[in-house]
Symmetry: C2
Subunit: 230 residues, 2 copies
DNA sequence: ATTATTTAATCAAACGTTTAATTAACCAGG
DNA sequence: CCTGGTTAATTAAACGTTTGATTAAATAAT
């Protein structure tokens, strides 16, 4: 009814929000542009007016998601902290991001599964950036003796997998596996567990600390758990 | 041209094979039934003749994939071996499965991302079975002192994630991350690294064995690496 | 009055599906 | 061994629907 004109946000933002949710839920091919319009409460033609095409809308969302993740990662793993602290911070931030942007994450994961055309460029750029940062960090940790001489080419992928899986299987996990809501507390538990498992392993041969199973007890002094992810 | 009648396999099998590949590559919604027919070299009506509908074809493929994985897992983690050996065997078998059935795995992963309708039942059943087996195994390992008291509810998910990620990111990994082909040798390296990391962790605080980084050195005597997965 | 925004109506193309007809294999009875 | 009828396998053509996209007109803002 009202015709704001003030800025290009009102309808455009609602379209982007509706599209993000539907693309995440159903994927690109099974999301009709009319469904997006209905959910956003606008006419279908507005989508072409603002985004040019269905693919333009999709790319716009994708671009935003990837750049957000990239920025998050770069600012997270940098800094003068120790290797372990930097890796722990990566896990914390990544897990927190998963909580606050589940739809963007799912869209990215779908794209990675496909691996094709649309954004092999952007998904690749996103994944390669993360990978390289983590690999260099781990390699440096091994060099200084802070880490064991593990397979530093594969270890970053493993670490990403340990975090990603909790968003990847989220529908199943929250429905049938663990009797918990996916709230901030649970995400903190995921991060603590992941860090503990990655650094200390599951084997008892070394005789490590024996903290109770699900307690979120990790030291890391000034750590703001599940903190700002924007 | 030939009209075999002998059994219903010839065309039906070609349809299933073509559909499996296309569904894995593009997903359900972006795969046209005509494309499947063209790739299989049959008429589009044959798909309805054999499978009733597009969804019937998809469900048929999905069912087969899930039951295969389920059978693989059940027979793998059972047996009188120790906890560590059983978990290691799970990783070996799962990684080998990934190598030999990448398309089925990708279809299952897509379904898990969606989490909806189609087979929330079957995907859930598949995942819950895996999860329960692993959880019980890990819990038992903790009880006997073979494992540290880690978060045994989350640990199975982490372990699955450490394996799944290598199929999940496969296009990106083989294209830009690790300069290796996805052959049996690489899958063995993945399995060795995963087992090493899961049991021993990346930290050096405990003073564990110091085998060189990418060497596939794990003892596990009669282990047939990347063995029969059918 | 002019521009920017939104709408309803409409388009050709592509979709999954159905139908009717055709072809090859099988199996009687002669 | 033929032969005619039955059945299963396969095809080409068309169906109705939905899709992404476009347009011309209407409405609001400047």
């Amino acid at each position: 009814m009202a015709r704001p004109k003030i800025d290009d946000s009102e309808a455009r933002a609602r379209i982007a929000a509706a599209a993000e949710e539907l693309f995440a839920d159903r994927g690109y091919g099974e999301t009709a542009i009319r469904d997006i319009a209905r959910k956003a409460g606008v006419n279908a033609a507005m989508i072409h007016y603002y985004f040019g095409s269905k693919e333009g809308l999709y790319k716009s969302i994708l671009e935003g998601a990837a750049s957000k993740v990239r920025a998050l990662l770069v600012q997270t793993v940098s800094g003068p902290a120790s290797t372990k602290e930097r890796l722990a911070q990566f896990v914390d931030s990544y897990a927190a991001y998963i909580l606050s942007h589940p739809n963007l994450a799912r869209i990215l994961y779908r794209e990675m599964l496909t691996g094709g055309e649309h954004l092999m460029r952007i998904a690749q750029q996103y994944a390669v950036t993360n990978y390289t940062i983590l690999k260099d960090t781990i390699f440096e940790g091994i060099r200084t003796g802070e880490l064991r001489p593990i397979d530093y080419e594969l270890a970053p992928i493993s670490l990403m997998g340990m975090v990603v899986i909790f968003q990847f299987l989220r529908p199943i996990i929250s429905a049938a596996l663990v009797t918990t809501k996916y709230d901030e507390r649970f995400v903190n538990r995921i991060a603590s567990h992941t860090i503990d498992l990655f650094f200390n392993g599951a084997g008892s041969s070394g005789g490590r600390s024996k903290e109770p199973a699900t307690s979120p007890g990790r030291k890391k002094p000034g750590a703001k758990r599940g903190a700002k992810v924007r």
